[in-house]
């Protein structure tokens, strides 16, 4: 099945602006997509955004799965099952100006 990945803000420097469609197994869970991200870009994301040792995003990075916020701290969140066509957004923003 296909899951859409969308990056915003500083992540686009490393991944590009365009949405990415990735093919994952039918029984894939959110953790599998995070692992995919780790394999693809874990080595190039800066430490302010990515915890290289634990292969996860730093606190402050927002993960939205079909617009629902994901709490990386909770294992159950990362074990959410995925369905075809879901979108994972990864963003870090500042405000004001």
């Amino acid at each position: 099945m296909i899951v859409q990945l969308r990056f915003f803000g500083p992540f686009t420097q490393y991944t590009g602006h365009a949405p990415l469609a990735i093919d994952v197994p039918e029984d894939a869970r959110l953790q599998d997509v995070v692992e995919y991200i780790a394999d693809q870009w874990g080595g190039v994301f800066p430490p302010q955004l990515w915890d290289q040792q634990n292969r996860r995003f730093q606190t402050g990075v927002l993960l939205l799965l079909d617009q629902h916020p994901i709490n990386q701290e909770q294992e159950s969140e990362l074990h959410r099952p995925l369905t075809d066509g879901m979108t994972l957004m990864v963003l870090y923003t500042v405000m004001g100006g």
């Binding site: 420097q13 602006h17 955004l49 939205l64 963003l91 923003t93 405000m95 100006g97």
Partner: protein
């Protein structure tokens, strides 16, 4: 004894009597309030009668720098202006970037107090210790950019820094602001109207002095370290690449870009047309000449050739794009940029201006305003040319522009019915372009912010998705944005942080990576003091309490610490669908933390513990 870091002198100019006085800076006040906003609030507390007419002779404009202004620290070129606001009728402090503050300090002054009312237009020329008032009758009606050029020619100095009002300030529009350095503004609260009321068209500064520091070498090393931290930060790098409006490119996903006067969840199709990526790709945005010693470079410059919106001018920042764009449902970035530029030329706060136009569009839709009120102008959502026309009418105070020039609160009071429910302001100041439904701490923050609905007196959003944000202050824990847990405390810490930045005076964007110890060390190296991280928290509390005490004397009470109905109405769609913060819970906790009485007055004990006995005597005698 004079502390290093300060010039030791305040310049006081009465434009009515033409008296010009140089006074010693009160060093005890400097130690207690640092500089900038802190010192300005302390001076205002003694000098501005809380019940005075903001546009009358008793109000004052207090321009303040800080102890690190004009040093080699990145973003240390800012200044603050403190005054009683004609828009909110409470004490306002507003921050401005560029180079003007640097020149004021290098001319030898920590601050400038402008008082009185001139019978005819003047401009103030400060050239080191030479200070004079000059006739400005011939500058009447000039826009802010033209005034800058004209005055520079007159004084024969192309590098002179000019802070000037445009037509909106001359006409005393309550949210008029002055402009310096090509579009840098202390935008909020109407300091430009106060300048206009005093007959001051411009303040021109030029200075040559250097700021003496207590330990220049150690200060230099710390400043370099901070500059390096900022330069290597990927988030700040993104600001440098796309400007502040890149926020729009992502924040729509969390419904934090207000659309259609806060009534609709933000959506990508609109925001992506107006965001920083669009700005760069469609208009090839360049770096703005910007601000003194800035290592971030968030501000952009655009050249637009698309008729009829041609311009070669500063790009609109995020707040301006949202206020003049998404709030009015306008999706043409060229038109929004043009409207923003007009605001700069007239000298108008883009947030209040855009929010007021959006409010007028909703009033028109609901029939509270009709074409009979607008001389036939149909004020409909999404009409970019109507937005531009209304900015012109507000700036020139023509037709319906006179009503819109009063801001949303007074407009709503004039129009009646339920208009106040969707006039999205707190204490008369229109909310900035961030939604309390998308970051719950905004609720108590907006409701209690010292100058009214404001995001710069506590950037709680920095901490909404964080863990142990400021351990040195005991600000620990994990936070998520759609929760009320811990948000009152977050508001207090964020407000104190803002008071420190505005007192040092440095830019918010440069401080996300700093700690209270960094602030204390900067101050100690600059001034020779012995502040600790904990002292920084206390000074923040002190500034907040004194500002509140001033506002209490203006009549602000518990019922004023609130949000309008629209801001607390759940959105139907998007990230925040169906959710709103629990404002009452946050306020109860906040009042306990700040030790305020039930009516909103800082408690006697709190004031005395913060060495504000004089305020305690005023409020409790």
């Amino acid at each position: 004894m004079r502390m290093k870091g300060y010039m030791g002198t305040l310049l006081r100019v009465n434009v009515g009597t033409r008296q010009i006085i140089k006074e010693d800076l009160n060093m005890q006040w400097a130690a207690d309030f640092i500089g900038g906003t802190g010192l300005g609030v302390r001076i205002a507390y003694d000098e501005i009668p809380p019940t005075c007419d903001p546009l009358g002779p008793e109000n004052k404009l207090i321009f303040m720098t800080g102890p690190v202004t004009a040093t080699m620290l990145g973003t240390s070129g800012r200044f603050q202006v403190i005054f009683k606001s004609p828009l909110t009728e409470i004490l306002c402090d507003s921050s401005c970037s560029g180079y003007w503050g640097v020149q004021l300090k290098q001319a030898g002054y920590d601050g400038l107090i402008v008082e009185g009312v001139s019978e005819s237009p003047v401009y103030l020329l400060i050239n080191d210790d030479q200070v004079e008032l000059r006739d400005a009758t011939h500058l009447a009606g000039l826009d802010t950019f033209a005034t800058q050029e004209r005055v520079r020619q007159e004084v024969g100095d192309t590098k002179a820094k000019v802070l000037s009002i445009g037509e909106a300030g001359e006409r005393q529009v309550p949210y008029a602001c002055p402009v310096n350095d090509d579009g840098r503004v202390p935008g909020r609260g109407g300091s430009g109207a106060v300048m206009g009321s005093k007959g001051v068209k411009a303040i021109v500064v030029r200075g040559q002095a250097q700021v003496e520091l207590h330990d220049p070498e150690a200060f230099k090393q710390l400043a370099l370290d901070i500059n390096k931290r900022n330069a290597s930060n990927p988030v700040l790098h993104n600001l440098r690449t796309y400007g502040t409006s890149w926020s729009m490119d992502g924040r729509w996903a969390i419904s934090d870009v207000p659309v259609r006067n806060w009534s609709v969840a933000s959506y990508e199709a609109l925001c992506s047309k107006l965001g920083g990526k669009s700005l760069k790709e469609n208009f090839n945005s360049k770096n703005h000449p910007g601000c003194y010693r800035c290592t971030i470079g968030c501000s952009k410059w655009v050249t637009i050739e698309q008729e009829p919106y041609q311009l070669d001018a500063p790009a609109a920042e995020y707040e301006s794009v949202a206020a003049l764009g998404t709030m009015c449902q306008v999706d043409d970035l060229a038109a929004v940029s043009y409207a923003n530029h007009l605001c700069n030329l007239y000298g108008l706060d883009t947030i209040t201006c855009g929010a007021t136009i959006a409010f007028a569009m909703e009033c028109y839709e609901k029939g509270l305003l009709t074409s009979a009120d607008t001389d036939g102008l149909e004020i409909r959502w999404g009409d970019k040319d109507v937005v531009i026309r209304l900015v012109q009418m507000i700036g020139k105070q023509e037709g319906i522009g006179r009503l819109l020039g009063q801001g949303t609160r007074k407009m709503a009071e004039h129009l009646g019915q339920d208009a106040l429910d969707f006039a999205v302001q707190v204490k008369g100041l229109e909310l900035p372009m961030h939604d309390a439904r998308a970051g719950f701490a905004w609720a108590s923050n907006y409701a209690t912010s010292p100058r009214g609905g404001c995001h710069l007196h506590g950037m709680t959003d920095f901490y909404e998705e964080s863990e142990d944000p400021i351990p040195e202050w005991g600000f620990t824990g994990k936070f998520t944005r759609l929760s009320d847990e811990g948000k009152a405390a977050m508001t207090r810490f964020a407000q104190n942080w803002a008071h420190l930045l505005d007192s040092l005076v440095i830019c918010y964007f440069s401080t996300k990576l700093l700690t209270p110890s960094d602030f204390a060390t900067l101050l100690n190296l600059a001034t020779g003091s012995t502040y600790t991280a904990q002292d920084m928290l206390v000074i923040g509390d002190r500034i907040n309490a004194l500002h509140r005490a001033f506002n209490y004397r203006c009549g602000i009470r518990r019922q004023d610490d609130t949000l309008p109905a629209r801001a607390m109405t759940p959105l139907a769609e998007g990230f925040t669908a169906g959710q709103v913060p629990d404002l009452e819970r946050q306020l109860q906790e906040y009042y306990q933390i700040r030790r305020w009485e039930a009516d909103g007055k800082p408690s006697q004990a709190a004031l005395q513990d913060l060495d504000l006995d004089f305020a305690s005597n005023d409020l409790y005698s």
